[in-house]
Symmetry: D3
Subunit: 313 residues, 6 copies
């Protein structure tokens, strides 16, 4: 089995999170039909890695594509968008799809994404092989974005984070948690947290699948500040209770990353860093994130350093 | 058992729906503490009638009160708001409550309302006697309004209509349907309908509990038009499929009622008629609706005339 | 030939314009299908009077209907909307029509109105008998409203006033003049005037067909002020140069009428008085105007008093 | 010396504040040139009463007029607006003036109002006789409204309440206090209070001159709620510390008055009650307030009942 | 006669349109007084090329300048703005001018531009030598932008595309066509097309003068998408019917160019590519476009490849 | 005493203002805790230079830090924010602070900044040594920004420029002047100027401390234009009357600097140049300005060239 992509912290760097030096790892035009490839989810698969990628085409339609990699750095992306088999009577095919997350639970890979269903909501589906994909019921009513599953049942229930939204470039957003016994019906909704710091003052949303640690669920999430030229996306982290994950145990006051490289500051949407996936191996973390809504990037961190930093705040 | 409130169609009137001549039946200051009483739900209870009433107090806080009546016209309203027993660990007490609907299903009265839970969503609770009220999980995530249950399970599932919203005076709104096997977890969301006619061009929302007829579920719903002085609320009707109630069989093109009386045109919010409950007896309908977000009113209709009118369109 | 409708100035009244005491002359539900009848144009026809009426139906669709009257007070309105014969290849039938004006020029009655053509613009058509109506080219590009023709050619050209707009409840608006030799092609656009006084500070628009006087064209026009509860419509007057009617000779500083009666203050759009037609006979004026976007009203004035008042300002 | 206007509480009424039965006391067209007369300040003067009145003329210009009354009910208003003598080099004459307050301090009557000075701010002037008026420096920078002086120096300083605003129909507003030793230079600004209850959730502003009681300064103030048809104005009360009047001792949770009469609900701005002056005599209060931004009204209360009510909250 | 500027498609490039490698061809400060030079029109003139250039000066005033070139790459721009001779009585000089297009018809060069005339509209003028310029009547009423003439009469009439607008950064926009027999009066307005794809979902507008081909008029046009940081401008193409050019025969689903180079992504308005002129020679096209509202750029294409691509969609 | 930082005008450059070639002089992460360092004030202190710096930390909190330099180019910034001693009873500690200006008057360094006090207003404090800082009364009521003191009393009074604002990204803004005899109470407010040119059409605000010249006070100020992607900040200059500094003697029509370098065009807020301080020595000016709300930069000019340029306009 391949090791996760990794590059050591540069000498002299004291940041908790550091960027891959060859960023971006996926250029906007890896496929001849793409306008941009970003905000995508990768994880271990077989001997290597697989993922679901947000590929905006040259109509600027937002589509999901499957992709594969031997080392997690270099990716081959299917030229055709995922075709969802509708697994349930009465389902409507997605009008569009973006910002996917993928997680293995029990016996299959579950995919959540922002699904076009008379407005944005949380689409839900699964795959065994990243070739055949089956879509089930939308998890939640419109208007919602950033649906993120926990990687196992907690107290006998599936758990999902999400951000209720409106239909446009929503100027607000708190994180909630919903619970389910069957992946089809969701309830027992709990409020998790709302913006507190300036860097996240407009809205927040869950990022990669939460990472289980002895201290709690490590959640990396994005936070948005509104400048007089539009939104600025950063990301930070918090710890959620292991058994009642709607309870915030610790939360970082500062961001972990903000747009500071040209590939994060310049692109289709300037000033965006947006994480969608995190791989872990021996306490090392590889975090996939989108840059400027245009390209796909990698950053690295040590899990225990993040947890320790959160516990100290 | 008392008959439902009723007044025959006035001579010369050809409208499908006509107003009670002594409207409003509940003045804004029936209680010494109320600013207004409107958008309320009534139904049969014991020998007479009971209901849940939206009473805005003189802080303009929105509260739900229980009320009782022998004849459906004259109401006695509890001076204190409903105190919800929280029936589930982790529940938060409502920040506010408004626009309730009530329905008997199986063994108890279920109440839905617009519940303040970090933003508006659909609160859910039950009562056996309109004295003790138990709140269970919010049915849906924020931000949502106008949650309306069907009066029985369909295909083995509870069914609820609702309107996803934003956090303010939402300028859009379609009706969706959600399903549940246990009243706690909701899923299998279906799109029902969106605004089509000018009188409803801004948003629509379900009104009273749907009425079962041989032709389908008779749904009275409100529709909003935006004038250059704000929103104007009307109401109309449609027929939904008996077994798959997210399918619209027939839908009226015109409104059934628009604000045309002084008590509907003048008040805390001018130009509002907003129906929340409908009683049926021998094909006669008594419809409770709010006037100008200030008072409670009654209107009457014949069920079969409405169904016939819908089938012709 | 019938005299124009008239009622003398009430004793003690010193206003330049006074209302008909039996206002409104047309109730909102004169037809069983109408929600409201207002902002309509009347003029002499045969022995009596005819007109084009804005009738919003109970879908709240905006439609134009023809109507007839023997005395100008009591009106019979066709139950069916005007069906336009398309007089030109390539024309599209109106999506909707509202706020008509009608004028006799040379050999026929010309009708202008706010026409739905991928947005609002100035529809143009004619009739000889108020039975058959022919639509010709839209006079102007979208987005425009309040197109008003002069009652004769000036300097060999037809002349039309209009207000360029946006597509919604436009928050701005000046009056311009356009010229044509053939009623089909319009150009030589001239700026006429913009809001100056507080009562008209949001936007202004031409009202009835201008009235020729020895001192200039007497133009009655509406002006809109934005309150914290929406738009308030008033009307005032000005004098335009007889030969170069884009030049304003005199303009009243105060409004002539503001919404002060219940039928102007309460209705589908509170606080609207909107004039669309003026009849003249022996220096007496009968002015038709809409009240609260709901009903049709009459007001009266003496032409020479208005002109004298304008010349003094 | 005349008694203040008074009418006893109607039998059966339990409200703390009750309306004058012959409201409105000043109609909109008391002067032939006025569109409306409202939001005005009255106080004792000589044997009777004098005041400064907001008179919007028929251009909808906002002007201040002086007025006189023998009994406080029946008013004679100067047909001409106040002409301000500019008492200071460099002053600009008001572009407009509205919502005045008047108070006797030491040796003269001081007037504050919303003054047009490149945007709205607090104009300041004085008179000895309500014939000659002298304007001094604007008390504060734009953009500000609702400047209200205390009726005496406190701790050797003049004190003024105000509400910082923006330039339009400001959607926010807290009350602040500023201090001065000379009426020309203001500083030592203190925050007083912000909206707390739903009826005042959009903004609040000081009303009449504060009334000194043994328990503190009794301040009547207005509070605004935003409905989907615009702003709704109510008024309530609080107690401020006698020596440090930026400290709130007690504050009513409910409004004392909301728009519930036709002359408050219908007019140029529907749903407004706006108090600007309060007279006191032997513990009885006569409160002048504007209705619907159109007419002037009176309400009554007992001072000690209000204070007692505030102390209980 | 000089050949049009041209650079072959780079090896390995499969795009239909490719950029000039030395872009930008005109820097922002070619003149000492300019802030930026962009969105400009060039065409053959004499032995070489001439054009009308949008030069924003360092007041950020938008001005038109004439310019000349021997090879189409290297330009000399007049340091003074064009001075328009007013060719018609009653004309007003432009308040400002921007985004010009130029075309030879019959006997002269016609210039259209966005002209400041109490708001933006389509200015019209002509020149024989790019030294003397004569302005005639504005072609259309305000508010309009992107007026583009066809290069010859069609069916005996001049034809112009335009986009009706509002007065600011208009958030909507469809393309219309207007017709004229004399260049002074315009009518027979036709709807052409509206936004369909995501990349153009906010608004569209005609770009260079349409290019006649055997398959129809080849129209390059810009399309705008609204991101959470503002507008993003792309360009695409369509084919219009040769004889009835308001009929769309074929239309590309994807954009042909989006902002992907630093000189398109960074500048006074990030993320803009805006084409205003296209030269053709032997089936090769040289397209002049603005980058980031700051500089002038060149791109190339083969006419028949574009037509073939459009026919296939 | 050290000379001010200086670099001669590059050969061939004809601009009145030129940039330092090694810009930016302070990177965004000079401190390990900073997100950005910009919009800061520097001046002579002892043998070298001191200043107050806007340092946004990685929570994106806006804080003020002191800093020191031997040569004006290379800065050492205190890692901890300034801790204000509250010099007056009743003062509240700043919620945040940004965009400082510093000036020596009489016997101490006075600091003004945008202070968080229930919204933004002008904070005021002083220091003798840039180690101990004392805060006094806020100079003005909220909502205000860009408070700039003159470097000496004029006519016996302290003078301050400021820009009244609202609470967000204010879309308007004129410059006013306020006067004081004691630095505590401010009055005699004068209107100074409003936006006139396109580059400043949204709002303007004073920049560095005004520089006294024989011709008047030289004021460098920023001006903002709203593009379809947000605000663009430029700076220009004007001359104010020496004795009555609210009178504008001369004002440049063009900007002196606009964002044209990557470090001004790309960063947390693209397209910002924002000057806060200017040092003078023998007619040479060193101007400190912020770039892209991210870094600190230097530009240079000759005082007399600026004055001469202003006098010619």
């Amino acid at each position: 089995m391949a090791s996760i992509p990794w590059q050591e912290r540069p000498a002299g760097c004291t940041d908790l999170v550091w960027r891959y030096e060859q960023n971006p790892i996926i250029p906007r035009d890896l496929l001849p039909t793409t306008n941009s490839i970003f905000n995508s989810a990768a994880l271990r698969f077989g001997d290597g890695f697989a993922g679901v990628f947000r590929c905006d085409d040259r109509r600027r339609e937002m589509r999901l594509h499957a992709g594969f990699s031997a080392n997690g750095f270099d990716w081959r992306i299917d030229p055709e968008p995922i075709e969802w088999t509708l697994g349930d009577e009465g389902l409507e095919a997605p009008e569009y799809g973006y910002d996917p997350r993928v997680v293995w639970i029990d016996d299959r890979f579950w995919v959540t994404w922002c699904n076009g269903f008379h407005g944005p909501t949380i689409g839900l589906g699964y795959t065994h092989d990243f070739r055949q994909f089956t879509m089930v019921e939308n998890a939640l009513l419109p208007y919602n974005r950033n649906g993120v599953l926990f990687p196992r049942k907690i107290g006998g229930r599936f758990m999902m984070l999400s951000r209720p939204s409106d239909r446009g470039h929503t100027p607000f957003g708190d994180i909630f948690l919903s619970q389910s016994e069957d992946m089809f019906h969701w309830g027992r909704h709990r409020f998790v947290m709302k913006p507190e710091q300036p860097w996240e003052s407009t809205k927040i949303g869950a990022g990669p699948i939460p990472i289980e640690t002895s201290e709690g669920w490590l959640l990396i999430y994005h936070g948005v500040l509104t400048s007089c030229s539009g939104y600025v996306y950063h990301w930070g982290a918090c710890l959620l209770d292991l058994d009642e994950p709607w309870k915030v145990i610790a939360r970082g006051k500062t961001y972990l990353m903000s747009p500071q490289r040209l590939y994060e500051q310049v692109g289709d949407v300037p000033n965006v860093v947006f994480p969608c996936a995190a791989l872990e191996e021996d306490g090392r973390l590889a975090i996939y994130y989108g840059g400027a809504d245009t390209v796909t990037c990698l950053a690295f961190a040590y899990r225990d350093e993040l947890v320790e930093w959160l516990r100290r705040t």
